[in-house]
Amino acid sequence: MKTFSGKALSWSLKDGAIEVVLDRAPCNEIGSTTLEELEQFAAALASLQTDAHALIISSARTEGFCAGADLREVYRRSQAMAATARLSGIRDFLERIHRVMNAIDAAPLTTIAAVHGVVFGGGFELALTCDLIVADKMARFCFPELRLGLIPGFGGIPRLKRDLGNAVVRDLLLTGRSINATKAQAVGLVSQVVAEGDALRVARATAAQLAKFDRETAIAAKQFIKPIPHDELRREIDTFCDLFTRPAVEAGLRKFVESTDALPYLP
């Protein structure tokens, strides 16, 4: 399928670049609908990549790239289940999203996340699957999961550890603070910081540059420099599931869902 338009995202292929555009209100929270469409994309990737050299992931939402997992859906579904079903449900969700993230991470294409605004939790983890991150200067990156009594569950920490120093990873993970695009570039997370509203244009220009290079060489270079941290990703799923059934997590989710706080996204 060369083009697709769903409830949460769309994709198209143009000039050798696959463009995935996230578009689900309020800020592309990743729940079952988004996961299903991401799985469709991962399945279509094998066919799409034969005519492409690059993949760009961006967001059509003004608020940002992606605010992470759909916590309201997670809470609603977990409340309707017994504890054992809750655990198997969350493990199944994680296994599925990991398969998608790994497929994007390992795609034989040069992949670019064009981000703006909120790049939080699972959204940050999605961006980390990409080879390059082009950030609008108003982008903010954050792992707020500890506030819920959890760790990031979509592969974020192993991928961040792959790319950055452990001290930076600890700072982001343990404080849960958000950092802006300039800081993210200073620590080596972001490839380019661009003017407001310009991330997608710059990502496209970067993709056009990549088209000049021999594709097999680009694939070999990527495989050499970007190994998938499979063992740590597996441990992340196990740790997340160990933590998930604790009462602190249910309390954290309830607090978020029921919050009237003006700052529910801030740790």
Binding site: G117, S178, I179, N180, T182, A262, L263, L266
Partner: protein, 86 residues
């Protein structure tokens, strides 16, 4: 040698925040006061507050961890947090 006089005053910083907020959220500057609750006055949500935080960091060339904004809702206290990072 660092001169204390080079440090902007709390009043200056507050005025700059008010100007920044008025400009970005398209609110007449004269409607904003230092003691105002900026969530109510500007009518902003948490995502827009993050946007304001980023603009403040860029304007003052500082890093302001968002947990320092917990419990802060008026422009003057926000200016105090910024002052401590200048």
């Amino acid at each position: 040698m660092w001169q204390n006089s080079a440090m902007p005053t709390l009043e200056n910083t507050t005025a700059e925040i008010l100007q920044l907020a008025a400009q970005h959220f398209k609110v007449p500057r004269e409607q904003l006061n230092a003691g105002d609750d900026f969530f109510k006055t500007l009518g902003i949500n948490s995502l827009q507050a993050l946007d304001l935080l980023t603009r403040i960091e860029q304007h003052f060339h500082i890093e302001l961890p968002d947990y320092e904004l917990q419990g802060v809702s008026d422009f003057r206290t926000l200016a105090e947090r910024i002052q401590s990072r200048l």
